[in-house]
Each structure stands twice: as structure tokens, then as C-alpha cells.
């Protein structure tokens, strides 16, 4: 069973603001799911190579040149989505 402090720590790492009640529920649910994962202890996989992808992935290289003509309105479209901005800058709250 996860401890409450552990769940709080993970929530902070994940940048998720959870209420007391939500933390409690999360603790119960995550613990149950982690118990289910215990079955992966049944067989020894120490010699098995891990797979990150289903297909063999290799780096794909290309020339460092402009590929697409950027539509004229693209910057505006992106900036229009910003919740708070000043002119063409994104505004953020103070970090410290």
C-alpha cells in the first residue's frame, strides 16, 4: 500500500493539484493497480533485452533546410491559443 506522502510527492512531480479526497482515492486505486503489476515478478526476465518499440527504430536524418512554407497566419493562430500574453510574448507567473 502506498503511503499518503508518496502519493503527494508523485502528484507534485506530475504537477497535478489534487484535493485531500482525491489524494485518498488515488492512493487506494494506485495501490490496487500496483498490486496487479506484481504478477510481473512471476518469471525471471533479467536476461531479456528491453523493447522500446515494436519495429526497429533508427534515427532518421534530413538536410537542415526549410521544409515547408509556413502559412502566413500560422504565428497568429498559435498565439491566439495562448491563455495570457503580452503582444507576441507568452506571459507566465513568477517562478520564485
Amino acid at each position: 500500500m502506498l503511503k499518503k506522502e508518496e502519493v503527494e510527492h508523485i502528484a507534485k512531480l506530475a504537477r497535478l493539484g489534487l484535493t485531500e479526497k482525491e489524494l485518498e482515492k488515488m492512493k487506494r486505486e494506485l495501490s490496487k493497480i500496483l498490486d496487479y503489476f506484481e504478477q510481473l515478478k512471476e518469471i525471471d526476465v533479467s536476461r531479456v533485452e528491453p523493447a522500446t518499440h515494436s519495429v526497429k527504430v533508427e534515427n532518421v536524418m534530413r538536410e537542415d533546410e526549410e521544409r515547408l512554407k509556413k502559412p502566413k497566419d500560422q504565428n497568429k493562430k498559435l498565439l491566439d491559443l495562448v491563455p495570457e500574453r503580452k503582444d507576441n510574448y507568452l506571459k507566465v507567473k513568477s517562478i520564485l
Binding site: 504537477r15 482525491e22 496487479y36 515494436s54 519495429v55 498559435l78 491559443l81
Partner: protein, 478 residues
């Protein structure tokens, strides 16, 4: 003639013969949506004006005697995690409620180049996380065959739209079964392509190493038409690949095909009627002269644990971009956060913007990747992924295709599994191994339990979609 009951092929033939116009077709579907969708909730956005405009364009082409492509004037529905320029794209989440897509996904470009008519965007479990359609921030979609039941998920709206004749075809996305499982529960055809067969550019990322876009249709021929249109290498997705797709396989003979039936897929917990329908389907192939062989995929029982470690891990990384700063739901301007710090904006925007299942997976993934736990969870799951891949590889040395049920049960009741996340996760038991191995798979209607459809899953070798479709078509035409 009921226009909304036609397949893509039939609609195309009718347009060419001028039996009806593209505008009439488009209006018929829009009317159907207006009439039926209040009770089904398949669509989040209906793009009425642009659809009618596009239909008119196709009619002009036809009138002026131009050749039209198979998809010209065909009304399609698009899962709302695929970007269509200037149209709202929510991914079923409150955090993207106000998000307007600034560009087109590659699959959308390809459909538009062929003249397809986009009717709208369909409902889904939030960020495609779910197997019932109930995790949407915009309310659940209902199964057209029985409104008290779920259509399956996460491509809930896309399958429901096709099943209820509110769209001629649709696109979905499949990460652990999100095309095939709902196709099975809603009685339509759903193809999950090989990883890399279809560009993911413009698909809102869930799990980058599993996600694939694929067609949802009424018939297998229609699935083939859509798949041919959207597949192929895209410079904007470096994991996409060029491959050979044969539109027809003149030398195909069902007598020369060997099917594998994995014993691990006929286990306790499978609905007896589902098992009966699938065994009958297998028998049909046998009666046609195909060889049937029992095979073993010994690590199947570990697939769900493996999948639900890797998926949340990638989810926690992929969804870090929703920060309340660049786009989407944000508390940055709310009065109570005026004096707070950047961290508060993150915590509040994400805590309030994401739904329960999304938060759960972000937490799980963050835990699995955090210091001290990486080896025990993520790395270990990747090793199991290797074992599951190897299982399939070995099987495909002996057999050409693998036949399984798509889902252990037919459509379940709304609310039946929402209280227990693990129960919902187990819905993916027959579909997620295919994503772990990156293989292509299709679900086709195989029978019914009462009025509830049951799907047969056909799994093939990488980039053999043409053969899977051929084998599926053989079944469909018996």
C-alpha cells in the same frame, strides 16, 4: 433508396451515375445526425457549413465531367483527437475545450485531397484513455444497438456514428484496442494498421510507440478504400514507413491459408456466447478448406500489466505539454490565482482540466518512471514487451494469421465498470498484445448475442494489411 445506408463504394457508384448528388448525400447525413445524435452523443462538433461547401464542390466536378476519386463526396466522421484545421479539437477533455486546431493532420490532408466531406468530430474517452466512451468530459456515447450500453472505446463516437448511419465511414485511433474493441461492440469493421503504416502527424499523442490511426467502416471493402487513402510514409512522421499494398491479390486462395488459434485467448471470463460465435467463425474458415492450428502465445497473461505500465509512462511524458501556459484550459487569469506562482498555475490548470482516468494514468506513469522505481516497472515492462513480441514472431513462423475474439464480452451497461479501473483495463486483454507487438489487426462483425454484436479479430504479419483485408473479405462474403 436510403442514402445513409449505402457503403462508400455504393455512394461512389451512385454519384458517378448521377443517381443523387453529393449535396443530397451530405444533407441526408446531416439530417440523420440532427435527428439521432441527441440520444447517441457520437459527435462533439458538426462541421455543417464546410461539409455542405465541400459537397457542392464535388457536385460541380461531377457536372463538369471530371473524374472523381473513390472518396470524393463521401461523408466521413473524424475522431476528435485528429486535427482538422480551424476546427475545435478537444480530445474529449476539458483541458482542450477551447482549442482550435492550427493545422491539418496528414491523414486529413490526404482525405481532403481526395475530396472527402468531413461531417464533424466524434466523441472519445478523454485523450483516448478508456474502453467504453464514458471517460469523455462531454458525456458518454451510447451504443446504437442498445442505448443502455456502451459502444466501446476509446473511438466511441466514430463507431457509433458509422453503426447508426450518421456517417458513411470514420477515422479512429488505436493504442491498445481503441479501434477494434469498439468496432466489435458496435458491429462495424475496424482496422488497426501496422505501427508505421499511417502517419501520426496531427494525432494528439497518447502513447507514441503504440498509436495508429485507422478506418472504421460498414464493410471490409470500405476499410480497404480508406486505408489505401491514408497510409504511406510521411516526412512529418519519422516512424512512418513506405510499404507495398496490393489492391487485389488475384492468386489468393483460402485453401492455402493457415490460421493459428491461440489457446490463451479462450480463457475463463470470456462470455460463452462470444466463444461460441468465434468458434463458429473459425469453423467457417475450416469448411472453406483453410488449415486451422492451435498455437500458444504463452506470455499473453502478462500483456495487460505490461501495457498498463508502458502506457501511463508515455502518457505522463506526453501530457506534460498541457501546462496552462501555451494553450488549453488555464487558471492563469482566474482571480484567486492572481498572486500565485507558476507552480500553482500548473497544479490548478492540470488538476482541474484533466479528468479522473487521465490523472490516474499520469500518476501511475510518473510513479513508474520516478527515481528508484524505473527498473522495477518501466524497464521490466519493456522486457515483457520483448517476450510478447517474440510470442507473435514464433507463431507467425508457423501460421499466416491469428484468429481471436476481439473482446471477451459484448457491449456492457453504462456505469458497469467505471468504479473499478482494473476491470476497465481488462477490456483490452485481446487487443493490447497486438499494439505491444506493433502488428496489424482487424475486427469484423462475426455474429450477435441477442441484439449485441460480437467481433472476430484477425491479426496478421507486419504490413500485410492487404492480406488481412482479403481474408476478412472471404469471411464477409460467405
Amino acid at each position: 433508396m436510403n442514402l445513409t445506408e449505402l457503403t462508400i463504394r455504393q455512394t461512389h457508384e451512385g454519384l458517378k451515375k448521377k443517381q443523387f448528388s453529393a449535396l443530397e448525400i451530405c444533407r441526408a447525413y446531416l439530417d440523420k445526425i440532427a435527428k439521432e445524435d441527441k440520444k447517441i452523443n457520437a459527435f462533439l462538433t458538426v462541421t455543417r457549413e464546410s461539409a455542405l461547401l465541400q459537397a457542392k464542390k464535388i457536385d460541380e466536378m461531377i457536372l463538369s465531367g471530371q473524374e472523381i476519386s473513390l472518396l470524393a463526396g463521401i461523408p466521413l466522421a473524424i475522431k476528435d483527437n485528429i486535427l482538422v484545421k480551424n476546427v475545435r479539437c478537444t480530445a474529449g477533455s476539458k483541458i482542450l475545450d477551447n482549442y482550435i486546431a492550427p493545422y491539418d493532420a496528414t491523414v486529413i490532408k490526404k482525405l481532403q485531397e481526395r475530396g472527402a466531406v468531413i461531417l464533424g468530430k466524434t466523441n472519445l474517452d478523454e485523450f483516448a484513455m478508456g474502453a467504453s466512451g464514458e471517460n469523455s468530459a462531454f458525456g458518454p456515447t451510447r451504443n446504437p444497438h442498445d442505448l443502455s450500453r456502451v459502444p466501446g472505446g476509446s473511438s466511441a463516437g466514430s463507431v457509433a456514428a458509422v453503426a447508426a448511419n450518421m456517417s458513411c465511414g470514420a477515422l479512429g485511433s488505436d493504442t491498445g484496442g481503441s479501434i477494434r474493441q469498439p468496432a466489435s461492440l458496435s458491429g462495424v469493421v475496424g482496422l488497426k494498421p501496422t505501427y508505421g503504416a499511417v502517419s501520426r502527424y496531427g494525432l494528439i499523442a497518447l502513447v507514441c510507440s503504440f498509436d495508429q490511426i485507422g478506418p472504421i467502416t460498414k464493410t471490409i471493402e470500405d476499410a480497404k478504400i480508406l486505408f489505401e487513402a491514408i497510409s504511406g510514409k510521411d516526412p512529418l512522421d519519422s516512424t512512418s514507413l513506405e510499404f507495398k499494398f496490393q489492391s487485389s491479390l488475384p492468386n489468393f486462395q483460402i485453401k492455402e491459408v493457415c490460421f493459428g488459434v491461440p489457446k490463451e485467448y479462450f480463457i475463463e471470463g470470456i462470455d460463452p456466447k462470444v466463444e461460441e460465435i468465434i468458434q463458429k467463425a473459425i469453423k467457417k474458415y475450416e469448411d472453406l478448406g483453410a488449415k486451422i492450428e492451435e498455437i500458444s502465445l504463452p506470455h499473453t497473461k502478462y500483456a495487460i500489466a505490461t501495457y498498463y505500465i508502458i502506457t501511463p509512462s508515455e502518457v505522463s511524458a506526453n501530457l506534460a505539454r498541457y501546462d496552462g501556459i501555451k494553450y488549453g484550459y488555464s487558471t492563469i487569469q482566474s482571480k484567486k490565482s492572481k498572486l500565485k506562482s507558476l507552480l500553482n498555475v500548473y497544479l490548478e490548470s492540470r488538476g482541474e482540466g484533466f479528468g479522473e482516468e487521465v490523472r490516474r494514468r499520469i500518476m501511475l506513469g510518473t510513479y513508474a518512471l520516478s527515481a528508484g522505481y524505473y527498473d522495477a516497472y518501466y524497464l521490466k515492462a519493456q522486457k515483457f514487451r520483448t517476450l510478447i513480441k517474440e510470442d507473435f514472431k514464433k507463431a507467425f513462423q508457423k501460421v499466416d494469421f491469428i484468429l481471436t475474439p476481439t473482446s471477451p464480452t459484448p457491449a456492457f451497461k453504462l456505469g458497469e465498470k467505471t468504479e473499478d479501473p482494473l476491470k476497465m483495463y481488462l477490456c483490452d486483454i485481446f487487443t493490447s498484445p497486438v499494439n505491444l507487438a506493433g502488428l496489424p489487426g482487424i475486427s469484423i462483425p462475426a455474429g450477435k448475442k441477442g441484439n449485441l454484436p460480437v467481433g472476430l479479430q484477425i491479426i496478421g504479419k507486419p504490413f500485410e494489411e492487404d492480406k488481412i483485408l482479403q481474408v476478412a473479405q472471404t469471411f464477409e462474403t460467405i
